[in-house]
Amino acid sequence: MNRKVLGFGVALVVPLLAILVVNLGRDPQRIDSPLIGRPAPPFSLAPVGGGEPLTLDKLRGRPAVLNFWATWCAPCYEEHPVLQASARTLGPDVQFVGIVYEDQEENVRSYLRSQGSAYPNFMDAGGRAAIAYGVSGVPETYFISPDGAIVDKFSGPLDARSLADRVARTRAARSASR
């Protein structure tokens, strides 16, 4: 009798414990993007300060880093120098693009005036691009291969190493797609 109860309890508790242990280190808020490995959604974005809209087609041919950010986002301040340094180091080999999320253009102008930018930034009217990419908060960064597929997505502020690793993978996707 006791052995049966014990066996039943173990059979019930062990799988639950296994699920708990496997998921202990996992961020419950993190949801993998269904867009990974799929074609990046097309967009048309107006440049900050005016000018010709940017479309996805214009990014084809080299790896691209799409960074959704806002001036009201504290982690974006933290991430800004990392992105700028990387964009300057990599030069024209990788196209960095800033997409402003739920913000006023005047705030963005003021921010860029004080902080500088090594790459172009664009306003996302009505949050269309953000919705198409499944953005739910900033900063979020998407890595797009030269043939227009989403290689990876990173939620939160990127550090230099995380960014370098992902850019390397995106560039490797370039070789693979050739």
Binding site: P47, G51, P53, T55, D57, K58, R113, G127
Partner: protein
Amino acid sequence: MRARLGFALLVGLTPALALPAAQATSAPDELPGIEDAAERLGPPGARPLSGAELEAETKRVSALLRCPVCQGLSVADSPATLAVNMRNRVRELLAAGYAEQQVLTYFEGAYGEFVRLDPPVRGVNWTLWLAPLGALLLGSLVVFWMMRAPKAPGDVALPAERPAAAADPLPDDAELAQYVLRVREQVYGWPGGVRPAKTGS
């Protein structure tokens, strides 16, 4: 003035310098409509809606979507900017003639199944529906099993070698002990209130 000029150069010229010049052909009036939906969903599967019908459908379909930045609120109920933008997107898609299922698929394609407040019954989602039934069935079986196998009277009998005094303890109070023995004699028929020793094997 210098700062303004520098900024204009920064935000205005950088894209032109950084992006391939040969591909610059889009006009501002091409700012996005439903082109990404068309690419993902194909042609619209319903008739375009407008007016009060469009608003009612927008509200109904938005209520099926989870606001990604809220705690358990639907896109229809949330005042968050993202939810407002998503509602507007729903409205645009319905106005373009996309069916409810296509609209849900559009958002699911970007945010995952998480965005649906009423996940479809498929794949691993079956466990959500079957697990409570399974638990109920398992619990019923356990209860049934426990009720079906009550202890037989013989199972609780004391071992023959067990001393009677240990099996039928008496209170320390001598007077009370006498009463207990009398009760045992009358109720159980034990001579003198003492359990008779087992006979035979």
